[in-house]
């Protein structure tokens, strides 16, 4: 009924405002503005600054490829790339396996299913916060419950944050702990697998493991691809936890690339150099994502 009010409006208004192109651009305008002003212009500036010596409030000085040449010999930068890749390679699969495991665990239709899903989602709700990072720092700290337990099991003098070998582990766990959104996406994928696939396989004598590898995984593969890409990108950008929990230490063991760029740009005021670092990071990420997409046709399976 309400719609009827507009009946006359259409005829009276000029046709320009009703033109699909005009309407489209009016509705898309917020994104177009942000794409130009907050993405394209900053990217162009960033590219320009990466060829400059630049401190905030000073004039950028063109130095050609100097920043990139210096980057090649910068041990701190090389190290931060290495530890970031290590973090991603260990952390992302762990998170996805965890998410899939919990999603499968919670497919069983019980009255408590909604409640369970909500409880398992809680870590994702708060895991990115400063509050949790501060808690994590104490939870895995030298006098916290986790280290106390490990010591009680016999590893005397064990420490996460004092060790270059183990400092990454609490950060990886904090990230894997926030498996909620991947879990929900897996769960809705699982719901769409027709039941008779499993029944048919069962009649053919396939056991649970075989059913998982020959039905569940292939059908979920496009969703795995989606989750993998999203988690890779967020893994590469990890910042808050590293900044608060370890501040990159000990001895640069958790000096992840985002943290390194932040310090280089804002603490040391090497903004041109930091821009060059972010471009290298972007290229590496684009290459990795590209490789995954290219190879995905071999391991993802589409029903149609």
């Amino acid at each position: 009924m309400q719609a009827a009010k507009y009946r006359n409006g259409v005829r009276r208004k000029g046709s320009l405002m009703q033109n699909e192109n005009v309407v489209g651009y009016i509705f898309a305008a917020p994104f177009i503005i942000s794409f130009l002003c907050l993405t394209m212009i900053p990217m162009a500036l960033s590219l320009y600054y990466s060829f400059c010596d630049y401190k905030i409030a000073a004039t950028p000085v063109w130095v050609g490829f100097k920043n990139f040449a210096n980057l090649m010999n910068d041990a701190t930068f090389g190290n931060s790339l290495l530890v970031t890749i290590q973090y991603v390679i260990i952390g992302v699969p762990l998170k996805l396996i965890f998410a899939l495991f919990v999603a499968m665990l919670l497919t069983k239709p019980t009255k408590l299913q909604g409640f369970y899903r909500a409880v398992y989602y809680i870590p994702s709700l708060i895991g990115g916060s400063v509050a949790v990072a501060l808690v994590w720092k104490q939870l895995f700290g030298s006098r916290g419950p986790v280290v106390t337990m490990i010591k009680a099991l016999g590893a005397k003098g064990f420490s996460f944050f004092g060790s270059t070998t183990w400092a990454f582990l609490p950060l990886v766990l904090c990230n894997a702990w926030q498996f909620g959104s991947s879990m929900l996406i897996f769960a809705s994928g699982l719901k769409q697998i027709p039941k008779d696939y499993y029944e048919a396989a069962e009649i053919d004598g396939a056991n649970a493991v075989q059913r998982f590898f020959s039905i569940t995984l292939p059908i979920l593969s496009p969703i795995i691809l989606f989750n993998l890409i999203m988690q890779l990108i967020s893994g590469f950008m990890t910042f808050t936890q590293a900044q608060i929990i370890t501040d990159g230490g000990p001895n640069y063991a958790t000096n992840y690339i985002a943290l390194n760029i932040f310090k280089e740009g804002f603490a040391y005021q090497h903004m041109g150099y930091a821009c060059a670092e972010s471009w290298i990071m972007l290229l590496i990420m684009a290459a990795i994502t590209g490789i995954i997409f290219k190879t995905s046709s071999h391991w993802t399976f589409y029903e149609n």
């Binding site: 489209g24 917020p30 600054y49 870590p123 949790v132 996406i185 950008m237 900044q243 804002f266």
Partner: protein, 279 residues
């Protein structure tokens, strides 16, 4: 047969509950620690439950470490999060409608641009964006944190687009025949039907903005403008080993997010997944 099923179900529930407790243990530990005396929080003999429940950590923490109390920081967080969420919902709904339902020239291009933006790591833009806001003399205000939210957030645009694509096109056509134009279809048909997706956007964008640390760290230079996430970090550093008040303020800082989740949990679980899978 029957009793075996009961046994299996019981084992299932025990396992899920035990694993669930392990998952929320860090949160429980934080909340319980906020009610403990200093000596019981850390160390070998720290009990799980406080031997004596103390409440002083809350008023002590609320006082903050400088001249400002947490009342200021909570106010700032609420301003930034409410405005930011509002902006995200309005702008993302508009853009998603354009990309999902209107055949305008360049739609494919802008859709690709949106996906690229979604996949682009923020660190590439961190420094030049800061420089631009600095040139505009807006560093040290809420504007760099709030204004971009009114210009669409690709993640939510994508999510809403998937939802709109799931709405039958016949609705639009029927409304057209009834005399609706593209604007009234958006206002009277798409927006009301979009509400599960809108609620999901409200919850997720609110807690992302509330939890955001890097934005405030870059743009809020004066303590009077600090959000809770930024203030709490400074507070923890200032308190040193006096952890009780820090745990108390950490707990408080998570309450708004918890409340929102509690109210909208049902929609959230459906909303996130409605779009993602078909993508």
């Amino acid at each position: 047969m029957y009793s075996r099923r009961v046994l299996r179900d019981t084992i299932y529930h025990i396992f899920v509950i035990a694993f669930g407790i392990l998952m929320v243990y860090p949160v429980l530990w934080m909340i319980l620690s906020s009610f403990k005396m200093k000596s019981e929080i850390l160390g070998n003999n720290a009990p799980f439950l406080p031997s004596k429940w103390v409440f002083e950590n809350y008023p002590n923490g609320w006082q903050g470490s400088g001249s400002l109390t947490f009342a200021t920081y909570f106010r700032n967080s609420i301003i930034v999060s409410v405005l930011g969420t509002l902006g995200t919902v309005i702008s993302s709904a508009m853009v998603s409608y354009a990309l999902a339902r209107i055949n305008f020239k360049g739609r494919k291009f802008w859709f690709t641009a949106m996906i690229m933006t979604m996949l682009l790591p923020g660190q590439v833009l961190m420094i030049p964006q800061y420089i631009i806001w600095n040139r505009l003399k807006l560093v040290g205000t809420f504007i760099p944190l709030v204004l971009p939210k009114f210009l669409g957030w690709p993640f939510f645009i994508y999510m809403m687009m998937q939802f709109i694509r799931g709405l039958p096109k016949e609705l639009d056509e029927a409304a057209m025949i009834d005399g609706c134009n593209k604007y009234s279809i958006f206002a009277l048909i798409v927006l009301p039907l979009l509400y599960p997706s809108i609620i999901t956007t409200i919850v997720i964008s609110f807690y992302w903005i509330w939890d955001d640390y890097m934005g405030p760290l870059l743009y809020l230079s004066k303590p009077a403008l600090y959000t809770v996430s930024l203030a709490i970090k400074g507070f923890a550093d200032a308190q040193g080993t006096n952890f009780g008040p820090m745990f108390a303020m950490s707990t408080l800082s998570l309450i708004p997010v918890f409340l929102l989740f509690l109210f909208f949990n049902r929609y959230l679980m459906d909303g996130v997944t409605a779009g993602a899978v078909k993508g």
